[in-house]
């Protein structure tokens, strides 16, 4: 058995850190230049979904739990942020905090229920709970029903930065999303993350080693839900809108597709997947419902022939971790 301190392992770790570091630096550099070339609102949307997909990947890729209900965290955080900013008149940082906290609480309740079952049951339970939250959103007065909450003010961040400026907003989103991604990277590379991977690989073994598997799963679920909520809160401010689309099950399907397409359990996969899916939805919008058909077809192709996803295949070909 290899000890952690064996030179090859250390060298491999250094390689991994280097390949990831380079990829990370390139990505951030591109994102700083990007708004001068590409429509900023598109980039902000893609960034929000990148965070959403990475939060989702924390659960599916590293714990092996497939949630079909992440729309509830994304959507409800988006509603609460919109409501706090518009009706309560709170500044953006507090509105985001409230939305994210809502997702955390929802994550605690939904996670507590869902982890009582495994595998496909887990998927069905999360889907059913999310559908319940969809109906609540449909019936609640403050969500505005079919209209949603429109005209959400972006406000001034910390009373200093006017987020109505497109570039200011973009930089704010970029900073928060990159911070969120770094946090996720930190989580999966912590001892806590190692235990999560152990649970994914062999749950029985992890239990026999004395880990409280349920506790680990729940914490991972809450973290994933919270970060998905952060993404939803940001999205509410970017589009100045929170609507039923955000809580609908198709949103859970979208984030699943982004993660699957980019690569389950890869660091950069969900980011790539998010950009691709958002781009596809924007550029193919004139084709109406055919976008759905194409998305479904991508699902089928990914599952049949392409289970590592784009980044996963790339990393496999280059023999690095990405």
């Amino acid at each position: 058995m290899e000890s952690v301190l064996d030179p090859p392992v250390l060298a491999r770790r250094r390689d991994t850190a280097r390949s990831l570091g380079v990829a990370f630096a390139v990505t951030v550099a591109l994102l700083i230049v990007a708004p001068f070339v590409i429509y900023p609102i598109f980039l902000m949307k893609a960034l929000c979904f990148a965070l959403f997909a990475c939060a989702f990947n924390l659960l599916i890729g590293y714990v092996g739990l497939v949630s079909f209900g992440h729309a509830m965290f994304f959507g409800w955080a988006s509603y609460l942020t919109a409501h706090a900013a518009k009706v309560w008149g709170l500044p953006p940082e507090l509105a985001i905090l409230i939305g994210t906290a809502t997702a955390a609480v929802l994550g605690l309740v939904a996670g507590g229920l869902a982890i009582r079952r495994q595998g496909i049951y887990f998927a069905m339970i999360t889907l059913a709970l999310a559908q319940m939250m969809f109906f609540f959103a449909l019936q609640a007065k403050f969500t505005g029903g079919e209209d949603g909450i429109q005209g959400v003010p972006r406000g001034r961040l910390f009373g200093l930065f006017d987020l109505n400026g497109e570039m200011t907003m973009y930089l704010f989103i970029l900073v928060v999303v990159v911070a969120g991604l770094l946090l996720i990277y930190r989580i999966i590379n912590s001892p806590f993350g190692e235990v999560l991977t152990a649970i994914r690989e062999n749950e029985q073994r992890a239990i026999s080693l004395g880990y409280n598997v349920e506790r680990y799963k729940l914490v991972a679920f809450v973290l994933s839900a919270t970060l998905a909520g952060l993404a939803g809160s940001l999205k509410a401010l970017v589009f100045q809108l929170a609507s039923l689309t955000d809580v609908h099950w198709t949103m859970s399907g979208d984030v699943l597709l982004m993660t699957l397409l980019g690569g389950l359990g890869t660091v950069f996969g969900p980011v790539v997947g998010a950009f691709l899916v958002v781009a596809m939805q924007s550029y193919l919008a004139p084709f109406g419902q055919w976008v759905l058909v194409i998305q479904g077809a991508i699902f089928v192709v990914c599952v049949l022939a392409f289970r590592r996803g784009i980044v996963g295949e790339l990393a496999h070909a280059l023999r690095v971790r990405l």
């Binding site: 496909i120 069905m124 059913a128 319940m132 099950w249 699943l256 058909v293 699902f299 089928v300």
Partner: protein
């Protein structure tokens, strides 16, 4: 006219009937899911889309070929079941050795494709389908009015459910099926073509969904999204009942339909969420579901 708990009997029994109708569909669909799960070990997310295809098959047969309800009741399940067989042979067969979650993902993708294609062709609004002439009208039972078609749906659904239960639990073919569920390798060693049985089982489960779709066509409108909302409720039903038993799926389906109907009378705001709430409670007190084998 009399009242029960301050509710006019007409309203109470009316909703109870509606609950039984919904329950019939929950039972038929969760039964199909359970049969497929037993044999293929996957959750068929496309079940809702296949139910919708059944309803559309009936609609299209009437529009383009003048073929009525009674023939559609036989033709639609066979045609849609055949597409199911194709799906199994083309896609699902290749996932057999993988984590069952991939089956869920693949059928999820298929469901989106099917729904998208139908939306492109027929729009999102519902298309009407007439109740067949011989089942129009109804009977006044004194305490309520019972439309003939609705009575027929409940009776037919019960009959199909019980027949399926009988076929699986009490016949020789069913015993092969159950044996292949337990130990496919051993059953193959006895010279039974298990892969073909798996394919046919999937086709049969899909056919059941399509049959439910034909039955639903005259009650609800025929629309592309009729399946996706229903299937999520059916998933909750399956979580509550557990997929270990055929009879369990049937009983849970009908019971939850009735509970939902009663909720509509006493607490209408909660009627769309009551099944999910029950699911949450069941998960707290009996995580394996009522008829589930503990995993």
């Amino acid at each position: 006219m009399f009242e029960i708990f301050g509710i006019p009997s007409q309203a109470l029994f009316g909703q109870l009937l509606l609950g039984l109708i919904n329950g019939s569909f929950y039972a038929l669909l969760s039964l199909g899911l359970a049969v497929i799960f037993g044999m293929l070990n996957i959750i068929n997310f496309a079940h809702g889309a296949q139910y919708m295809m059944g309803a559309f098959a009936a609609y299209l047969l009437l529009q383009h070929a003048g073929i009525g309800y009674w023939e559609a009741l036989v033709i639609a399940p066979i045609v849609v079941g055949a597409t199911g067989i194709l799906v199994e042979r083309l896609f699902l067969m290749h996932l057999r050795k993988l984590d069952p979650l991939y089956g869920l993902l693949l059928t999820f993708g298929l469901a989106i494709v099917i729904e998208g294609v139908f939306r492109n062709s027929y729009g999102s609004s519902g298309l009407p389908y007439q109740v067949p002439e011989s089942l129009q009208g109804g009977h006044n039972l004194g305490f309520m009015f019972l439309p003939n078609y609705r009575a027929w749906v409940i009776v037919l659904s019960l009959a199909v459910c019980l027949a399926t239960w009988f076929a699986i639990e009490r016949t020789r073919l069913g015993s092969y099926l159950r044996a292949a569920t337990e130990n496919p390798v051993l059953v193959r060693a006895f010279g039974i073509n298990v892969p073909r049985m798996v394919t046919l089982t999937y086709g049969f489960g899909v056919g059941l969904a399509a049959l439910a779709g034909v039955m639903a066509a005259p009650i609800y409108n025929v629309s592309p999204q009729m399946g996706s909302d229903l299937i999520i409720v059916v998933f909750a039903v399956v979580v509550i009942g557990g997929m270990g038993s055929i009879m369990g799926a049937i009983l849970t389906g009908f019971t939850l339909g009735i509970v939902e109907g009663l909720t509509k009378v006493f607490f209408p705001e909660a009627s769309s969420t009551v099944i999910f709430v029950i699911m949450a409670i069941v998960l707290l007190i009996r995580p394996a579901g009522f008829f589930g084998r503990t995993a």
